[in-house]
Subunit: 575 residues, 2 copies
């Protein structure tokens, strides 16, 4: 393993982080790029080459010194890669893959041949208004006009909303080979890093990417507010897409999640990708480790690609001053939210240039988002520009990040639940409340309860009276704990409610509390969630301490003033 | 920040990992050590110095090029450090600290002056049998004979068990300045990395270290089977110890945990330490980040030193062949347990030489231990030597890693609980069972329940009948969820049991299940733990699916054979 030498075309930030991974395994990487390029700064040996990573002669020289050649960017000369491969030096991923991916239209066509879902794409014969008119008729307006080559970070894309945009579109892109892509109305952008090894394809978890000015800004790992099913479908689609290319290495797969929860591949990068930076801190094996391992046939397992903790990555982009990136980094460190900072050693910042990134991990996405808001505020302040809010305001009355779902069959149960709601608010536990009747809306009840676990709900509190079936039926539809609150009906003492909730058949447990005691239901939910979230466990402890103090104060009064005085104060004059 | 230059004495593995941290912040480190030393391999610039890090002249030259000088090892010339500090170049930690720590007896004496608990130590006037005899009388036999200087990884220590060892002890250490240390009967060795900043001291969590042949072999973070109280006391003791030294930087503090749970400082290292390697993967800010930040006055917060996931570090020590370390690394990667591997670039392996390390993190220490056993087996195989078992066999009948505590007032409740125990076993949930009676052993009950949370118990299942106080009393003593199982008494229908458990006052919740239904108690515990441990949540889902299948098979039989045939098969001939 440590005797192998890797040749790398390009020594930018992706190369630098790749070299960092190689350094840990003591594997030599010979880099072809300018002297003092970011990757070369952290690798000291005599095997590097100085020059352009696009220079065929230099690439051939490099290839003579290594066991495998790889790239940090796909915009390279694939003719020479084909030549060196024919001379027996493996190029990973294959030059065929790189050549096809360089032409974004060819990439799309290839995916469609393999039945991989991607937006409908049409090549333009020429670059005239008539050509635009014609594709508009074929795929409808608006559409996205794209350069087939040399396009990244949004450069090379032009949104054509109507015929009025034709001139501007041609002015922007008219001198390049073009294709048009059907407009995708997406509700989120997802991405998956895929690892292609000699044995097959593996996938990192599905993440959510947020772009600003067509440049990746934020990555949420895993994606928020997306069902487990969609997360898995995205991984499957990404694996299917990468499987139809040649060679080994990691691939970044960007996707659109449409309104109907279907997925379309947007673009594939045949290399480590910005959407995978989070893996350095969040996963046992980073995307750079994975790239290194896959191209050298060092084994790697699917479960090594898991996420340790929810994480968010924020790019550090240059602003107007040369030191703007360092400013952002320094102030982000000083903010003390535990961000892991990466500065790429690229010299002075220029507006929009990727100068570094920061990754936060936290026990829950909620906590990560809270810390990330601090970093975004700092970034906004340095660049003098306001970011879009982290979480778009919800139009429903429910907490977006609810941990407890409180359900009841009708509004009439609300007064009984109010005490519990007060506890949830006091202990700062986000919750949602829903009307789901076991008897009158059995389907909606089942649907709601089924959705709870994948949406991140940890505990359900269900209130019901009389023939009180809601808690037990809810427990039948989920694997998370359900707490039942028996509600005293207007007729009888509530024994019916208690027994309907308590005496569940063996196999389906309901955690039952006393009649009308929603206080204890909420506190039980807090104890359960507290096992995972220490802030909430601390709140439970504090609540108990306050109760103790309250009773001890009463004991003090009793001790100081005696029975008669306290009786009068508490219960009024004795009769 | 990125304009600062750090001077580093020594370019071994600690220096290398320090440089890795500096690289991420794009901070230049000028290293004084041999060419191609491990740290220099990952740092390419013209500011390094070639030579011995013990050479005063070279150190002075280096100091002229940097803003602060630090060390990767304490065995350096403190005269020259004192000189360069007087010339205005800060040395961190202070040369005073390094000088005092170099002399292990002076170190101990200093700690005792500041009332920091450490083993009683007596300097030897000379190196004769009479001197040994004399200290033996003062501190008793056995004692540990130690070299005051140049001692590390057990070199410089000699255990003196009786007068018969005097000759051998003097032969081993007689040519060095010596002191004797009172023998410490410890049950575990703990360690804490402390960060000394310009503003005060911060501490990483308390870890457990396991040594083999006096060399650190394994580090468990956090320490296993140690109460929360002791973990915190260890952090406090370590902070107190480091606070009485001078300067800034990270310090490794090694401690003994004695049988009575008291703590003694063993040794302090004024630099990053083997017991802190785990922080690279397990914490948002590694010990190397922390060292860099503290010596450059870059802010750092206590909560950035938290552990993301339980983790275990295993040193990769050289064995008999030059490629033994690489062999261990390659086979450990191939094992696919997600170990993060660090190889130090130190060339050929020699027996016992620290060549690298591996860190595992996992959602629970139990899972980390399971994976670590795989790595230990590989290590043992390469070096042809058997490690001590990871977890010494327990002499109690209880699971060492119990997640559920099952408690009852007497053996008579066991038959009711058996069904629940079967479920816990089936779902692979480790549990412990205890007799704790609320009425007959109120103190033991309180003591047991208090200990549950810090020992890692997640849920209590308490069974009781009649005036059934155990579940409610247990809930009063802890912040974890308590599930109450009402046991049907010999007299009456069990309503007394149900109501005694269910109708808790507001403020102290008990999750009550049906009478005698320990099955549901165990399944409820599984749902709760499943929120944290996905394997257990999956087992809950599987259990539900099996129940569904079982019922659907009966429906199939009913559908195929009709009422009469099934009645007979199930209930016998109708009368």
């Amino acid at each position: 393993m440590d005797k192998k030498v890797v040749g790398l075309l390009g020594g930018g930030q992706l190369g630098r982080m790749f070299v960092e991974a190689a350094n840990r395994l003591n594997i030599q990487v010979n880099i072809l790029d300018a002297a003092k390029s970011p990757a070369k700064q952290i690798s000291s040996h005599e095997g590097h080459f100085e020059g352009s990573f696009k220079d065929p002669e230099a690439i051939e020289k490099l290839s003579k010194t290594c066991d495998v050649v790889t790239v940090e960017i796909e915009h390279v000369d694939t003719q020479i890669l084909e030549k060196i491969a024919s001379q027996g030096v493996p190029v990973e991923p294959s030059w065929k893959t790189i050549r096809m991916i360089q032409d974004k239209y060819a990439q799309k066509e290839h995916l469609q041949e393999y039945s991989v879902a991607t937006a409908q794409s049409i090549p333009l014969a020429g670059a005239t208004k008539e050509d635009l008119q014609k594709v508009g008729e074929q795929i409808g307006l608006p559409f996205m006009l794209k350069s087939r080559t040399e396009a990244y970070d949004g450069r090379g894309n032009f949104p054509v909303k109507s015929a009025a945009d034709f001139d501007a579109a041609l002015e922007a892109l008219g001198n390049r080979p073009l294709y048009a892509e059907k407009w995708a109305n997406f509700k989120a952008e997802l991405a998956v890093m895929v690892v292609k090894t000699k044995d097959g394809v593996l996938a990192y978890p599905t993440v959510e990417t947020v772009h600003e000015d067509s440049i990746c800004k934020l990555v949420y790992a895993p994606a928020r507010n997306v069902s487990k099913k969609v997360l898995e479908q995205a991984q499957e689609l990404a694996k299917k897409a990468v499987a139809c290319f040649w060679g080994k290495g990691v691939f970044g797969v960007e996707m659109f999640l449409l309104d109907d929860d279907s997925l379309l591949i947007n673009e594939i990068a045949p290399r480590p990708h910005n959407s995978g930076h989070y893996t350095i801190e969040a996963c046992p094996i980073s995307q750079y480790d994975a790239h290194l391992r896959s191209i050298l046939d060092i084994p790697i397992q699917q479960h090594e690609l898991r996420i340790r903790e929810p994480s968010i990555m924020l790019n550090i982009l240059g602003a107007s001053t040369p030191d703007s990136a360092v400013q952002i980094a320094e102030r982000s460190i000083a903010a003390g939210v535990g961000a892991s900072i990466h500065l790429y050693g690229k010299g002075d910042a220029r507006p929009g240039r990727k100068m570094g990134h920061m990754t936060l991990t936290a026990p829950s996405m909620r906590e990560a988002e809270k810390s990330m808001q601090v970093l975004l505020d700092i970034t906004d302040d340095v660049r003098g520009k306001k970011s879009a809010p982290l979480s778009p305001p919800s139009t429903s009355g429910q907490a977006k990040d609810a941990m407890v779902g409180v359900i009841m069959g009708s509004y009439s149960d609300m007064p009984v639940l109010q005490a519990g709601i007060n506890i949830l608010k006091k202990l700062n536990i986000p919750f949602e409340t829903h009307i789901t009747s076991a008897h009158r809306t059995p389907d909606w009840m089942g649907e709601y309860v089924h959705s709870a676990l994948p949406r991140g709900i940890q505990v359900l509190i269900a209130a019901a009276g009389g023939a009180a079936h809601l808690p037990g039926m809810a427990a039948s539809h989920t694997a998370i704990p359900v707490i039942g609150v028996p509600v005293k009906p207007t007729i009888g003492d509530g024994t019916d409610s208690v027994l309907s909730i308590l005496n569940m058949p063996r196999g389906v447990p309901v955690a039952t509390v006393g009649t009308n005691n929603s206080t204890n239901a909420a506190l039980l939910a807090a104890r359960i969630i507290g096992l995972k979230e220490s802030a909430i466990q601390n709140a439970v402890v504090k609540y108990a301490e306050e109760s103790t103090e309250e009773v001890m104060e009463r004991e003090k009064l009793m001790d100081e003033q005696g029975w008669d005085a306290v009786y009068e104060k508490w219960h009024g004059a004795k009769k």
